[in-house]
Amino acid sequence: MLDNFAFGQYYPGTSVFHRMDPRMKIILLILYIAGIFCAGTLPSFAVPLLFMVFSIHMAAVPLKMVFKSLKPLRFILIFTFVLNLFFLQGERVLLDLGFARITREGLVNAVLYALRLVFLVMGSSLLTLTTAPVPLTDGLERLLSPLKAIRFPAHEMAMMMTIALRFIPTLLEETDKIMKAQSARGADFESGNLIQRAKAMVPLLVPLFVSSFRRAGELAMAMEARCYHGGEGRTRLHVLKMARRDYIALALGIVMVALTVALSRLTAGLI
């Protein structure tokens, strides 16, 4: 159960990607997502693809780790692919099933959406694989801090994320323990149909919720005892500083989006 937790895990290293400012990595991810949504044709997808290959190479993380993050998404992937396949009805029919038709346009569209989803997840996991949780939330907090002017709780959100990341392993461990204890008393989480299995989860979730509330209360008390009083007047251990590599990365990101848009325009008539 603990091994399934690949998405959102940090892979320690010293690559350029690891050393980049977390803020720039977040900006780059946003640019990248913009890029993959600008890629409207299959040939134009070559640019985000190349960029991904290049990034994984620079980040020096095993390909296996990046692909592992896709595993939990396989059903959603198949579902969106099939849905898109029949959704867009074009001119050139590839297959007529009688009740529905698969057209060339529909197929291209389905492939594009699936690719976008895959690259979106790969891009995000590259960010979390190369950025430790604390710098990540630090970066997010600082990127969002201009929004404090309109009362957006940037600090509180970042703190919540840190605590969530800190407690996920603890709660998983606890779930495991409760599950084992209940299995020993004859509970069955593995067999039966969906409803039966969902029912078996109830005695698991109730103690988990109760203990989470207790934990939250105790943690709040411990944080107050250590002088926590919100984001005001707080300094940070990690000082974030943009370096040359960050600006180079930004330039590359912008070029990537521009290239994608251009290529997408050029190849628009080809399909």
Binding site: A132, V134, T162, I163, E218, L219, A222, R234, T235, L237
Partner: protein
């Protein structure tokens, strides 16, 4: 006497007009002292602890830490910086996903300049014997190690007092020994005032002063030898002496010149010294 914490006629009720969790506490703690607080479940130990750093404010009476009244809002953060606290559950007091970041948490809250932090963090981790685990994730550490990270987190803030509320209750014997010896060292070498809440009678002997709480009040207050000599009173409060302590106290009553001993080895050694 140089007094660092003072409780004057302190009472606390969790709900308005509710029962008093502690009642009429009059206590004073000397700077650099090493005190254990004992008591049955629900005797008010945790409530008293939280009154001593302003987490709770007294319903009645007054608590002062180094002369600062905990009820005075302008002192709240200075008091909490001065009087650090370690809680029972090691999991529920660590905030960050890496040990150093957790130790930094208190410093960040105090607004310490980032340039000063690494040195203070390293020092604190070394004091707690956790330097080699500085970059680990807390959930990969043992209970005793997690508690020592919590101690380092408090220590980095340069406190003068550390209050441990049953900090060893969830640990195995090995972890318990580690944590208590870190606190002993901090008291001896750094002169930190330690208030150690426990229900392990074995631990209590290592302190110079014992306070026994019962139903929200102080029932006994003295050296371990003084407190342990009234076995009947302790039993009435559901506190049982360790076997060897009972034996050595009995021998003392029979006028044997023997100190309070906890283990059979100690007792044998002391006996040999005197009767050989």
């Amino acid at each position: 006497m140089d007094e660092i914490i003072r409780l004057e006629n302190v009472s606390y009720a969790y709900e308005e007009d509710g029962p008093r969790a502690v009642e009429g506490l009059n206590l004073s703690f000397e700077r650099g002292s090493f005190t254990a607080v004992l008591g049955h479940n629900g005797s008010g130990k945790s409530t008293m602890a939280k009154l001593m750093n302003g987490l709770f404010l007294p319903t009645e009476g007054r608590v002062t830490v180094d002369g600062m009244d905990t009820a005075d809002e302008k002192y709240t953060w200075e008091i909490r910086k001065k009087a650090g606290m370690i809680f029972q559950n090691p999991d529920n007091q660590l905030v960050a996903t890496v040990v150093t970041d957790d130790v930094a948490f208190g410093l960040e809250n105090l607004g310490v300049p980032p340039a000063e932090m690494p040195e203070r963090i390293n020092w604190a981790l070394k004091q707690a014997g956790m330097a080699e685990h500085a970059f680990k994730a807390p959930h990969l550490l043992s209970g005793g190690q997690k508690q020592r990270v919590a101690i380092a987190g408090v220590l980095a803030m340069r406190p003068e007092i550390i209050i441990c509320d049953e900090a060893t209750a969830m640990l195995d014997p090995q972890g318990r020994r580690e944590v208590l010896s870190v606190m002993e060292k901090l008291n001896r070498e750094q002169g930190i005032t330690v208030i150690w809440i426990t229900h392990f009678m074995e631990e209590a002997v290592r302190f110079s002063r014992l306070i026994v709480m019962d139903r929200g009040s102080v029932a006994m207050d003295g050296t371990p030898a003084e407190v342990f000599s009234d076995e009947e009173k302790l039993e009435r409060m559901h506190l049982r002496l360790p076997v060897m302590a009972r034996l050595s106290m009995k021998l003392r009553k029979e006028n044997a010149d023997i100190p309070l001993c906890l283990t059979a080895e100690d007792l044998a050694r002391e006996a040999e010294k005197r009767w050989n």
